[in-house]
């Protein structure tokens, strides 16, 4: 026979377990476990994993250049928070877009990003990624510091990754190469195109469409002297 005390004890133990698991899960979910300023080993593992996968793709002698390009581009895009970056690159003009325009833009931006990495594939050959550390900025914002070592260059290239952490998953938000944040640089170009065309988002959409379709850059000139 189980005494009422034992039943109560059992219920209490189970309740306590549930509470503790829930709290632990929530803390992890909210990212509270890692305080700002600390390292985040999981984020470092994420970047190290990406580096390893990139090497496997680039060093695969059985695949053609086209296959490598596709695989590398997919690897980048699948691990990047393209939608968030796309919105970020619109700067202050993000608010002026209708939902349909935003979706148009984000589709184009995804293709644009894929093309970007396809073009730059050659630059990544013979590199090795060495993760050096990480820094938790906030529960959802982590920086991973790394360096790229080239086969034919003495000096490594400093590369820092800004990651978004959500539900224990990581996605790339921005990339800093020798002190230059790429999403910031991209934003400067996009907002400039919009600003120099009287604040019209169409101008950016047209430019992006042209670039995605042609796969080439073009000599952009402001349409009118409204940039005084």
């Amino acid at each position: 026979m189980t005494s009422p005390t034992q039943i109560l004890k059992g219920v209490f133990t189970r309740w306590l377990t549930v509470v503790l698991v829930t709290v632990a899960f929530s803390l992890n979910f909210l990212g509270v476990v890692q305080a700002a300023g600390e390292r985040d080993p999981a984020a470092e593992t994420f970047i190290r994993g990406l580096g390893d996968q990139a090497i496997i793709i680039l060093d695969d002698e059985t695949s053609t250049e086209n296959e490598k390009t596709e695989a590398f581009s997919h690897l980048v895009v699948n691990n990047t928070d393209i939608r968030a970056i796309g919105k970020f690159t619109l700067g202050q003009y993000r608010r002026t877009l209708t939902p349909a325009e935003l979706e148009d833009f984000l589709d184009l931006f995804k293709n644009f990003t894929e093309n970007f990495y396809k073009k730059r594939l050659g630059e990544y050959s013979g590199e090795r990624l060495n993760v050096k550390g990480s820094l938790v900025r906030s529960a959802k914002d982590v920086i991973v510091m790394s360096e790229l070592r080239f086969a034919f260059a003495e000096e490594p290239l400093e590369v820092n990754w800004r990651l978004r952490k959500q539900d224990g998953q990581y996605a790339i938000r921005d990339l800093q190469v020798v002190g230059i944040w790429l999403a910031l640089e991209q934003r400067s170009q996009f907002t400039s195109v919009i600003a120099n065309n009287g604040g019209r988002i169409d101008a950016l959409l047209d430019s992006l469409r042209e670039m995605v379709n042609n796969g080439e850059g073009f000599d952009y000139q402001p349409t009118k002297a409204n940039n005084s």
């Binding site: 920086i143 120099n196 940039n227």
Partner: protein, 266 residues
Amino acid sequence: MTLPETGQAMIIQRKKTAFKRLGAGLCLLGALFVAGCSTTNGNPAANDPWQSTNRKFFKVDRTLDKAIIKPIAKGYRNVVPERGRKSIRHFVDNLHAPVVFANDVLQFEPKRAGITLTRFAINSTIGLAGFFDPAKKMGLEPHEEDFGQTLAFYGIPEGPYVYLPILGPLPPRDMVGYVVDVLTNPLVWMGDPAAGYVNKGRVVADGLGDRERAIEVLENLEETSLDFYAGLRNLYRQNRENEIRNGEPQFDDLPDFEDDFEDEDF
């Protein structure tokens, strides 16, 4: 890497009369700077009130670059082997050491000043007049400093963007810095004509080396750019900030990705 300095595709030293002109230009710029601060345009965040003029100059530079400078840089790469180019770079950098040292001191960086001085002593002697860099092998890593960075150290803001033909991006703070660096270089005030020739050679070799190293980076950037001018403007600024921090990582002031309003993704 010289990626954001690439706007300064090639720096050509002007003669003394040019300094006078620059001086006059600076006074004018000072006035414009004040005016520019209050100017608003389509994209105030860009802080580029003279954008249409800047873009014209940028276009001139690109034409010059395509026709003359880039082909010379490519020729330089083809004719001079990598080891030779490296030696020239070491020589040029070594000649610039007095300016770097002065700015290290002005920024209260005794350790970096010591490194610059020791590097200069070692490389000018054992390094055969600076053509080799034995100091680096001894663990004394090279670094750059200029008076524009010193002004930033003392809290002077960069000011509105300015792009000049040949000289590239030179907003007011960096323009003043550039003039001061030119004038404080011992090769300029030594008065010896030989020193003058060496200095001119240094400036040309420096610009050529920068351009040669940036060939691929610039090509890639241009190919993937929607607005090359705006992209370079941002690269210049980010790079200057990085230089001012002496390359020390700083992650405190990053922009937020989350918007202030409703966003289904966050």
